[in-house]
């Protein structure tokens, strides 16, 4: 066992030996080691987060045909640090009549919920916080905490807009959790486990091939849960000034902001894990854990980029439309897919991998075709309802 093959465990064992040398009891040393690991992971993620700020701003600029930060350092790479300093030195306001404890707790929780997610992310076959056998559920659970944070913020700010934002967030969460769980169950079925590592190991063929629709639905639900455009109703600037974090200033706002970005990135990562083979890339992961980690982060960045792409090119949706979209379209579709996947998977269990993949893909294609048909009908009816003169869009357009 060398540093290259398994750095984490090596370090852990080394540290354990060290502590034993100092004569700490076993349980205490384990505790300490795990603590160190957590701190390490968190700090790495925060660094990544800082980078994300920069990435986001650059990409936004490109989307909006600007240059973006370009003064501090090469390509303005130092800009985020400047931002952090600015946030730190701003006045920390607590509005009158605010519920102080909760008000201050909310941003911490919101960032915490994101960081908790990383506990189960396997950066490499041997680098992971913990390999929960109920990982998929864990994602939802932490998502719930994030929502909790937003509600606390919204309520504690003693501000109508904030409260409205919180309400919206709850509504969105409760309605989009359902399709999200359903689509998360599809990789679970295919891999036969909820553990992230197991799912990745099972992806000899990326599940985006076996279940493209599921991937799409998951992404949509994720965006909704993140509360990013086009579903950024909890902080719709043009309606409810800034939604739940209207009252937050300085680093508290910074925490929310960082939390949001990292959340998006994390979901990109989960998207990659669930549907794009996680740290696997044509056997490159064999080269070493660090390579694998790089691969995973790259894929996560790809997912994050997709989220940004959607964010900066889409209009905001009305709340009722959004909920209807979830309940009347995504949820039934997700459950139909779930059933179809389970069925086909059971039927083709013993078939060769090729046939299995083909059958899955075929199922998804057929389902997709049906969905497109339904959407066209619905759209035409809507058009006819709104503007009877409008001609219906023929197929293939």
């Amino acid at each position: 066992m060398n540093l290259w093959a398994d750095p984490v465990n090596l370090a852990a064992r080394w540290m354990a030996g060290l502590l034993d040398g100092w004569g700490t009891p076993a349980w205490l040393s384990t505790l300490l080691i795990q603590l160190v690991g957590v701190v390490l992971l968190v700090s790495v993620m925060m660094v990544v987060d800082i980078l994300l700020v920069w990435v986001e701003r650059k990409v936004v600029a490109r989307f909006q045909d600007r240059l973006g930060p370009n003064r501090l350092g090469p390509f303005g790479i130092i800009q985020p640090f400047a931002d952090i300093i600015k946030l730190l030195i701003k006045e920390d306001i607590t509005p009158h009549g605010a519920d102080r404890v909760i008000y201050n707790l909310a941003p911490i929780l919101s960032l915490m919920s994101v960081l908790l997610l990383w506990a189960i992310v396997p950066l490499a076959p041997v680098i992971f916080g913990v390999d929960l056998n109920v990982g998929a559920l864990y994602i939802i659970a932490t998502g719930a905490i994030g929502t909790l944070a937003i509600i606390m913020a919204g309520w504690a700010s003693n501000n109508k807009y904030a409260l409205i934002g919180a309400f919206r967030q709850v509504a969105v969460l409760v309605s989009f959790e359902v399709p999200m769980i359903a689509t998360m169950l599809i990789p679970t079925i295919l891999a036969g486990s909820m553990g992230m590592n197991a799912i990745i190991q099972a992806q000899d063929v990326w599940y985006v091939v076996l279940a493209p629709l599921a991937a799409i639905i998951f992404m949509i639900a994720a965006i909704a849960e993140l509360g990013r455009s086009p579903f950024d109703l909890n902080e719709a600037e043009s309606e409810i000034v800034a939604g739940f974090h209207i009252e937050y200033t300085g680093m508290k706002f910074g925490l929310f902001y960082a939390g949001e970005l990292l959340h998006a990135f994390t979901f990109g990562g989960f998207w990659a894990i669930l549907f794009f083979g996680g740290y696997r890339l044509f056997g490159l992961e064999q080269l070493g854990p660090l390579v694998a980690a790089v691969i995973l982060l790259g894929k996560a960045l790809f997912g994050y980029w997709i989220i940004m792409w959607v964010r900066y090119t889409m209009m905001r949706v009305r709340i009722d439309r959004m909920l209807a979209f979830s309940w009347k379209f995504l949820t039934p579709l997700a459950f139909a897919l779930l059933l179809a996947t389970a069925l086909v998977n059971t039927l083709l269990r013993d078939a060769s991998a090729l046939i299995h993949a083909g059958g899955m893909l075929l199922t998804n294609v057929v389902a997709g075709a049906i969905v497109v048909q339904i959407l066209r009908r619905f759209g035409n009816r809507e058009r006819a309802r709104i503007r009877p003169s409008a001609r219906s869009v023929p197929a293939g357009q």
Binding site: L137, I151, V174
Partner: protein, 169 residues
């Protein structure tokens, strides 16, 4: 006295204290949030009991859905955001006595029971609690029927809730 026991004692203390706060705080939102703390504690207890799945489900269902619904309802059912006046009935002492009696009775019954101080058996290696639970839930000779009934119950609750809370225009 080892690590786990320490953890248990801490968690237990958190649970009981937060539960007391749930039933005593004046501010309902705080009560709901304290409830969440309690639920977290319970989830940790599940984890201590090697029921990881239940722990996560506890978080998902209780915190992710139920507690948030509570907060939602609290926010929906008030004229102003603050709660004024006593939150307890005038006869709260009576109910306190009843609760105390219940606790006393329960503990008294328990200490009369032989298996009270037994300790947990070893988990056999390779025992997959989640898989076993899943099989138990769908095995015809086990609990498939209660499981289905529960699903029907949930559906009925869904429809009923929608119907009850629906504003007729």
């Amino acid at each position: 006295m080892n690590g786990t026991q320490l953890v248990f004692l801490g968690v237990g203390a958190v649970i009981l204290i937060s539960a007391l706060l749930v039933v005593t705080t004046r501010n309902l939102i705080h009560a709901a949030l304290w409830l969440i703390v309690t639920l977290f504690g319970v989830a940790i207890l599940y984890a201590l009991l090697n029921a990881g799945f239940l722990a996560v489900v506890q978080v998902v269902i209780y915190i992710g859905a139920i507690a948030i619904l509570f907060i939602f309802a609290v926010m929906l059912t008030r004229k102003e955001l603050r709660d004024r006046g006593p939150q307890l009935n005038p006869a709260w002492w009576l109910s306190a006595i009843v609760a105390a009696l219940t606790f006393g009775g329960l503990v008294w019954m328990l200490q009369g029971w032989s298996g009270l101080t037994r300790s947990a058996g070893e988990i056999p290696p390779g025992f997959d609690a989640v898989g076993a639970l899943g099989n138990a839930l769908i095995a015809p000779n086990a609990f498939v029927l209660p499981f289905e009934v529960a699903s029907v119950l949930l559906l009925a609750a869904l429809i009923g809730a929608v119907y009850v809370a629906f504003t007729r225009k």
